[in-house]
């Protein structure tokens, strides 16, 4: 039996306002060369000035991946000539990467697997090249965008594991808010190193490298194809060649070039970026900004809230949904009912309306109000959901709807007396009719006014009694 050994190198652009070493905008655009500074262009005389936010986001990601972090920020130069690299070197990290020796736990087909992270470092993206039939064009917009590279240990064994890791890693980026990680914009890209070996072998087989795969489906296809190709080759007594291959549209991989001597990048410490110390206080502050990640939430929902695996999965899948759910609970609302409302009504609505959760009119606080009324049996579950849909539809606070629908009476005598007093003060002639003429028809007049004033929330029977009493009291006061 043969088994695969897979290592991934994942690149992800960080979401910041400005670039990693200059203050030009870090913003995706189709218009070429409009977000370029002197620094991004590598003009003579430029100097890099590292972006604090990029450093924070890289460190946060490293911390979330349980990495060891450096005591100071230091960068290194990687020297090579390529037309997408205007300075002739890339500023990256070798000496003290943002993270070392971390891991990410993933669930593969229900089984927990610990993926070991060799290192995470912060660097800069290159310019982009567009190729035409007999020339190429350089667009420098991408040059200098902050990029993190995460290198796993060769510890993955299947396409399933690799793709699950990538998906979960993307969720880490999203949960941390460090990147939108859209692979269709090339914000998240992946290199795959893969070899196969016999179960009984001690040494890894010869590895093949596949670079810059954007879509996860292509990662899967490339790995599955390579495992099959390499295994068949070895079974036939052949040998795997160390080389770089690419995945084509037919789902097969093709050789690009055989591995020549490894390039010597002549790394050395970037002399223009003096070290910046990272204090314990800095790390403590940063740690506070790291939210619970997907798997932690999933396990919490099962262990602590006793949710089904299905519900726990749905509610932990996306950070906005999970945060929403947890906020409703934070108001003390019933867990079971909240799960019911969120997984059915809320999620189906955003799906139907094709909107983001943050665009939904119903806030967690509003939902909590409905959930509590259902829990207290003030309204039924069905009624609660109806009100919720109405509220979304009309963009009205559901608690207002409940009040309007007379589902919420004013039964407080003091409050009613106050309202009735006001109504009488506003309608002195009707009061006079009672005092002077003993006209009891004014009772209905006043009931009508009170109901109008309270949006029909006043308890009518109580109101009638109070109206009678109040009219009589006013009559007595006049001594008649």
């Amino acid at each position: 039996m043969y088994k695969a050994v897979i290592g991934l190198e994942v690149h992800c652009e960080l979401d910041t306002k400005s670039k990693n070493f200059s203050s030009s905008p870090n913003k995706f655009t189709e218009t070429p060369n409009i977000h370029v500074s002197t620094v991004d262009l590598g003009l003579p005389g430029i100097l890099p000035y590292p972006n604090k936010e990029a450093v924070r986001k890289a460190l946060k990601t490293a911390m979330a991946l349980h990495c060891e972090n450096p005591d100071e920020v230091i960068f290194d130069r990687k020297n090579y000539f390529y037309p997408d690299l205007p300075k002739g070197y890339q500023i990256t990290q070798v000496t003290k990467p943002m993270g070392k020796n971390g891991y990410l736990d993933i669930l593969v087909n229900g089984k927990k697997k610990r993926v070991l992270i060799h290192q995470l470092h912060l660097e800069e993206d290159t310019a982009s090249l567009d190729h035409f039939s007999n020339y190429s064009l350089i667009d420098y917009n991408r040059s200098g965008i902050p990029l993190i590279e995460i290198v796993t240990e060769p510890c993955l064994e299947s396409a399933d594991e690799a793709v699950t890791f990538l998906e979960d890693l993307r969720d880490v980026f999203l949960f941390l808010g460090v990147s939108e990680a859209r692979s269709n914009y090339g914000q998240m890209r992946c290199d795959v190193n893969i070899s196969v070996m016999k179960d009984t072998d001690k040494e890894f087989g010869t590895k093949v490298e596949m670079k810059n795969i954007n879509a996860f489906t292509n990662v899967r296809a490339a790995i599955e194809y390579e495992i099959k190709r390499q295994t068949e080759l070895l079974e036939k007594g052949g040998q795997v060649v160390q080389e770089t291959r690419r995945i084509a549209e037919d789902g097969k991989t093709y050789s690009m070039r055989e591995k020549v001597d490894a390039i010597d990048y002549k790394y050395f410490v970037e002399p223009n970026i003096p070290p910046v110390k990272l204090t314990k206080e800095f790390y403590d502050e940063l740690r506070k900004e790291i939210p619970e990640l997907k798997l932690e939430r999933y396990e919490k929902y099962i262990d602590k809230y006793h949710l089904s695996e299905y519900d726990a999965g749905v509610l932990s899948a996306k950070k906005d949904i999970s945060d929403y759910f947890e906020e409703v609970l934070s108001y003390g609302s019933d867990i079971e009912l909240t799960v019911n409302f969120v997984t059915s009504a809320i999620l189906s609505t955003i799906k139907k309306l094709d909107i983001e959760l943050k665009e939904l009119f119903i806030t967690p606080k509003m939902l909590s109000g409905i959930v509590d009324k259902v829990k207290n049996k003030e309204i039924s579950l069905d009624h609660g959901k109806k009100i919720l849909y109405q509220a979304i539809d009309k963009k009205i606070d559901p608690n207002e709807i409940i009040k309007k629908q007379n589902l919420h009476q004013i039964n407080d005598k003091e409050e009613l007396l106050k309202i009735i007093g006001e109504v009488m003060d506003e309608n002195v002639s009707q009061v006079r009719q009672y005092i002077d003429e003993g006209n009891t028809y004014v009772y209905n007049f006043f009931i009508g006014k009170v109901m109008a004033k309270t949006n029909r929330q006043a308890n009518p029977n109580m109101s009638l009694e109070i109206i009678k009493e109040e009219l009589e009291r006013r009559k007595q006061d006049e001594g008649k």
Partner: protein
């Protein structure tokens, strides 16, 4: 003495060439310079010393706040090359590696 072919290989990796005579000069120069560099090796216990990159260190260095500042117009980006198409720099077709 360092081989001339080695020096040619180094030059090629730096994306330039020299003529034979120049390589010979370089070869001789290398010899002299590498001998000078041996002076460094004579200094005792060097391996115990931390290599120095920066003239001095300061405690209050800070990183740049993440704000958009100055950047170039397309015209400025392309000001120093006449090889341009659709506001991009044109080069011979790059064979993707």
């Amino acid at each position: 003495m360092i081989e001339k072919d080695k020096l040619k290989e180094y030059a090629k990796k730096l994306m330039f060439d020299m003529n034979e005579e120049e390589y010979e000069t370089l070869q001789k120069e290398f010899d002299v310079i590498l001998r000078q560099m041996d002076i460094i090796d004579k200094i005792p216990n060097l391996h115990e010393v931390e290599p120095m990159t920066f003239p001095f260190l300061l405690k209050d260095r800070s990183l740049r706040d993440d704000e958009v500042g100055d950047y170039l117009t397309v015209g400025e980006v392309l000001a120093n090359t006449k090889h341009q198409v659709n506001d991009q720099v044109k080069v011979p077709k790059v064979v993707e590696e």
